[in-house]
């Protein structure tokens, strides 16, 4: 029997489409109105709310919590102070990514983890011998992402703590009578927050946010709009850009952090003394430059794309809904396949067709001309595209605070 999230009774009447996806066994709206693009614009231009409750949630507590996690996670969790959060991956002993998640440090000995897939078994098995308790509290909380340029105005009207909350910081707050935790995080690449609410009080918190949000054109957004935003933001997605190495059949299905464009997470690991699963393999990969892939953004050549469609007598499609399949990439000169785009879409804010690409490292330099295979009138055609740095869309408001124009550079994270 499919489950519903703590916000479902509020969201169900708002979903005019009747369309629900299944996400980790929960009903999750594909979109609320007939056009996902309007929900996307709420995120880029006003404020939108997304029910991200189906994420798995864990408390990791105990005297050894930091020591335990720093031996599991690829990124150095010791640098995450209480009140801050860190996005990290964890790898197998060959340096291939198992999964990713966000760790919210509540105190010296308490972390809260959200991840896309269940992880209790894996983490518990590694925790033997550490004084650490790991508890699956996935069903205890609803999580509402409040995202977009107006998100701060909406939430700070309810919880003043939010007004100067830094990027990837989190705070305890009260919305109405409910004690919540609010973090400056999200999956849209925009200014945004996530609100963690006890499941049985989720409805009241939702109502309060929507009431204040009404004057700011708030609207709920579904999975389609989220996918559009995350591609512009250059955020990788499990089962699209990668899958768990533990569940892969071949090394072709496995990727290292460096190959996923997460090289920034590895800064300092060649010298620091922290042992963690996969460290030696990752050090070797970095030292020998043996990464097989690089992740880059992709921006299609609009004139070439227009020309190919015009020659076929077609109106150039500019569909913001991301393609759910891979598109092959070729060397412009030799015609050899050199990688693939994991997804392509038309970006309304960038006014270009864009994508996320996995390329042989020698092609990864920004501005490299490549060919991308597209289908026009049932025929394969090749259009020019350029590699580009991710995130392709990166507004200053994502990391800035009202009183402080830009966040500290050491806060680099996704």
């Amino acid at each position: 029997m499919v489950k519903t999230t703590p916000f479902h009774d509020r969201l169900e009447p708002l979903n005019r489409t009747g369309l629900w996806a299944h996400w980790s066994g929960y009903l999750s709206a594909v979109k609320y109105g007939m056009s996902a693009k309007h929900e996307y614009f709420a995120v880029r231009n006003g404020v939108g709310v997304f029910d991200t409750s189906p994420l798995f949630k864990y408390w990791i507590r105990g005297r050894d919590a930091e020591r335990f996690l720093s031996g599991v996670l690829t990124r150095d969790i010791r640098k995450c102070r209480p009140g801050h959060a860190q996005y990290s991956v964890w790898c197998d002993d060959r340096g291939y990514v198992l999964e990713d998640g966000v760790f919210f440090r509540h105190s010296e000995s308490e972390y809260f983890l959200t991840s896309a897939r269940p992880n209790l078994g894996y983490l518990s098995d590694l925790a033997v011998g550490y004084e650490v308790q790991i508890e699956d509290v996935s069903d205890d909380y609803g999580v509402l992402a409040v995202q977009g340029p107006r998100s701060r105005a909406v939430l700070s009207a309810l919880a003043p703590e939010v007004s100067d909350l830094g990027y990837f910081d989190h705070t305890a707050a009260k919305i109405g009578k409910t004690a919540v935790r609010i973090s400056r995080t999200g999956y849209t690449g925009d200014l945004g927050f996530e609100v963690f609410v006890p499941a049985d009080e989720a409805g009241a918190v939702f109502d309060a946010i929507m009431d204040v949000g009404r004057g700011h054109s708030i609207r709920p957004f579904g999975e389609e709009a989220l996918l559009m935003a995350r591609i512009e933001a250059g955020l990788i997605l499990i089962d699209v850009e990668f899958g768990s190495s533990r569940l892969a059949y071949t090394d072709q299905e496995r990727f290292t952090p460096k190959e996923l464009g997460l090289g920034w997470m590895l800064r300092g690991i060649d010298t620091d003394d922290r042992p963690f699963v996969g460290r030696d393999a990752i050090r070797r990969e970095l030292a020998t430059k043996s990464s097989r892939w690089a992740m880059t953004g992709l921006v299609l050549d609009w004139q070439d794309y227009d020309r190919l469609h015009a020659e076929a007598g077609l109106i150039t499609p500019k569909d913001p809904v991301p393609l759910p399949w891979e598109s092959m990439l070729y060397d412009v000169e030799s015609g050899d396949q050199i990688g693939y785009a994991t997804t392509l879409m038309y970006s309304p804010v960038l006014q270009r067709h864009i994508g996320l690409a996995r390329l042989r490292p020698s092609y990864a330099k920004s501005g490299t001309d490549v060919h991308v295979e597209i289908t026009i009138d049932h025929e394969y055609k090749r259009a020019h595209a350029e590699t580009a740095r991710v995130p392709l869309f990166n507004p200053e408001r994502k990391t800035s605070n009202p009183d402080r124009k830009t966040a500290n550079s050491d806060r680099k994270t996704t």
């Binding site: 109105g33 309007h38 404020v47 004139q303 500019k318 960038l350 006014q351």
Partner: protein, 532 residues
């Protein structure tokens, strides 16, 4: 060069002047854009006329803007952000309504509510219109061939045009001619039976033009307003973030980034010539600025009859320009609202307000509104194109409040036995009473009202007789003939003097094509001159 010497001076900082100046600066010309007012944008401006409320005083929506301009001028880099309208809302007089949005199936069912016959007819109409638009768009994006030209370039352009017209199916070309020469009503009657649907679509056939939907010529206006796109969807409209003034600020920033200089509050008195060619301009304060290229973004009357001594122009040309017709017929009444209007048939919904609110329930309603204008008076029950951008762009008004732009027809520039300064409040009351009849209680929501008569448009923006397109959209004033036969190539009879406003091909709306195409002409001429 000294500070008052330039390669090119653009007179008028409306959107076409800005686009033109940006292209010239991008090509390396030392370019100056002169604007009479305290802000650029011409008729595409956003003003905070009431604290916290941002009014799109004149132009208020975006669709025709050429997508290549967005790319070539790197406008995204400077803040270009068009937001698609979620829907269009057309209330009927009997309390019913039509809402059309982004989902074709939902639209089909909505139309079926009004006419089962029209459900599939709408698909055919949209398809046929798209085919005509596909045919027309390449013509919009190129200067018209010079029918009377004698160069190989002219002959080639004419041959290109002929082969383009022959490349489409006969039906598509025939549809084009039916639209260019016929009425919107005749065209729509071939497809539809629903009065509300026809009223809604036909409304696009009267915008800015002194025609009713049953007049020949309204087909052309309908086609023009269906020719734009939002992100590849033909005929779809959007708002620019912060209104159309937000858009012109973006173009101004792009122009400046390419090196163009913009001077505000610098009205031009005359275009200065020497030995029959342009050498610069004289400002109203007496300042002289020199440039070998002077481009007027003003309408043809002001370009040729005000900035230039008409004795410098050929007599036939002066006659053509003198009889170029304007007769503006549109006005605006914009409102700051305390809340959203309530439509009794949809009192529990607000999502219908994200786009156009079309008060033109039947073609007969529109035609009767036109009848008043024929005899020199404004409509007693006017056509209203409302737009409440604040519903999807919260930056336009304080939280919970709204700005409603209302485009009104008909409001003829020439009133019989009265004038606009006398009639402005009575006119606005008529508009408000019409809104009240569709949205009971509307008047109680009004915090502030801005009235823009055709005379205001002329005085403030400088568009002659308040014509929003810088010259009427009727076949004798389009394509080869815009603004005068033989002068559709952005040149003028005076060497070095060019035109780039909406009075040139392809015409008005926030489209940018005249500005861009004129820059191509200028740069080609400059390259030719350098060769010889």
């Amino acid at each position: 060069m000294s500070e008052n010497e330039y390669d090119a001076i653009v007179v008028g900082g409306g959107h076409n002047g800005l686009v033109n100046g940006a292209y010239l600066a991008k090509a390396g010309l030392r370019t100056l854009i002169l604007e009479r007012r305290h802000l650029v944008g011409g008729a595409a401006i956003t003003e905070e006329l009431y604290p916290g409320f941002h009014f799109t005083t004149f132009s208020y929506a975006l669709s025709l803007l050429r997508p290549d301009i967005v790319q070539e001028l790197d406008l995204v880099e400077h803040g270009f952000l068009p937001i698609e309208m979620p829907s269009s809302f057309a209330p009927a007089e009997n309390g019913d309504y039509l809402i059309l949005g982004a989902d074709e199936d939902e639209n089909m069912q909505e139309i079926r509510r009004h006419s089962k016959h029209d459900a599939d007819a709408y698909e055919r109409y949209e398809h046929d219109m798209s085919r005509v638009v596909q045919l027309v768009r390449p013509l919009i994006d190129k200067a018209p061939p010079n029918l009377w030209g004698k160069t190989p370039e002219d002959a080639a352009a004419l041959a290109d045009l002929a082969s383009h017209l022959k490349s489409v199916e006969p039906k598509v070309l025939h549809d084009l001619v039916r639209l260019l020469t016929g009425s919107a009503a005749d065209f729509l009657d071939d497809y539809f039976e629903s009065d509300l649907l026809k009223g809604y679509i036909a409304s696009s056939g009267i915008i800015g033009t002194k025609v009713g939907p049953m007049s020949q010529g309204s087909g052309l206006v309908l086609l023009y307003h269906s020719m734009g796109e939002h992100d590849g969807e033909y005929g779809v409209w959007g708002f620019h973030k912060g209104g159309n003034g937000g858009f012109t600020q973006v173009v101004a920033r792009a122009a400046q980034a390419y090196g163009a200089e913009i001077r505000l509050e610098s009205p031009v008195d005359t275009m200065v010539t020497k030995d029959g060619r342009a050498v610069g301009v004289a400002l109203a304060d007496g300042t002289e600025l020199s440039a070998d290229i002077v481009v007027s973004a003003l309408d043809p009357r002001r370009t040729f009859l005000e900035l230039v001594d008409r004795r410098e122009l050929p007599g036939d040309f002066v006659e053509d320009i003198t009889r170029f017709r304007y007769q503006g017929t549109s006005a605006k009444v914009n409102f700051a609202l305390d809340g959203l209007p309530v439509f009794p048939g949809l009192s529990d919904r607000i999502d219908q307000y994200g786009g156009f609110v079309n008060i033109g329930p039947t073609m007969e309603y529109l035609e009767r509104a036109y009848d008043d204008a024929k005899y020199g008076w404004y409509s007693s029950r006017p056509y209203i194109d409302g737009a409440i951008q604040s519903v999807i762009d919260p930056d336009m008004a304080p939280p919970g409040k709204h700005v409603m732009s209302c485009f009104i027809q008909y409001a003829p520039y020439q009133l019989k036995n009265s004038d606009w300064d006398t009639e402005r409040d009575k006119f606005a009351d008529t508009v408000q009473a019409t809104l009240e009849s569709f949205f009971p209680g509307f008047g109680d929501l009004v915090l502030h009202r801005e009235i823009v008569t055709p005379l205001d448009i002329e005085r403030t923006v400088g568009l002659s007789e308040g014509n929003i397109f810088a010259g009427e959209f009727l076949a004798p004033q389009m394509y080869f003939f815009r603004p005068a036969p033989g002068w559709s190539d952005y040149r003028t009879p005076i060497d070095g003097y060019y035109q780039c406003g909406s009075g040139t091909h392809p015409g008005g709306c926030v489209i940018g094509a005249p500005g861009k195409l004129a820059s191509q002409r200028i740069l080609r001429d400059k390259a030719e001159a350098a060769k010889s």
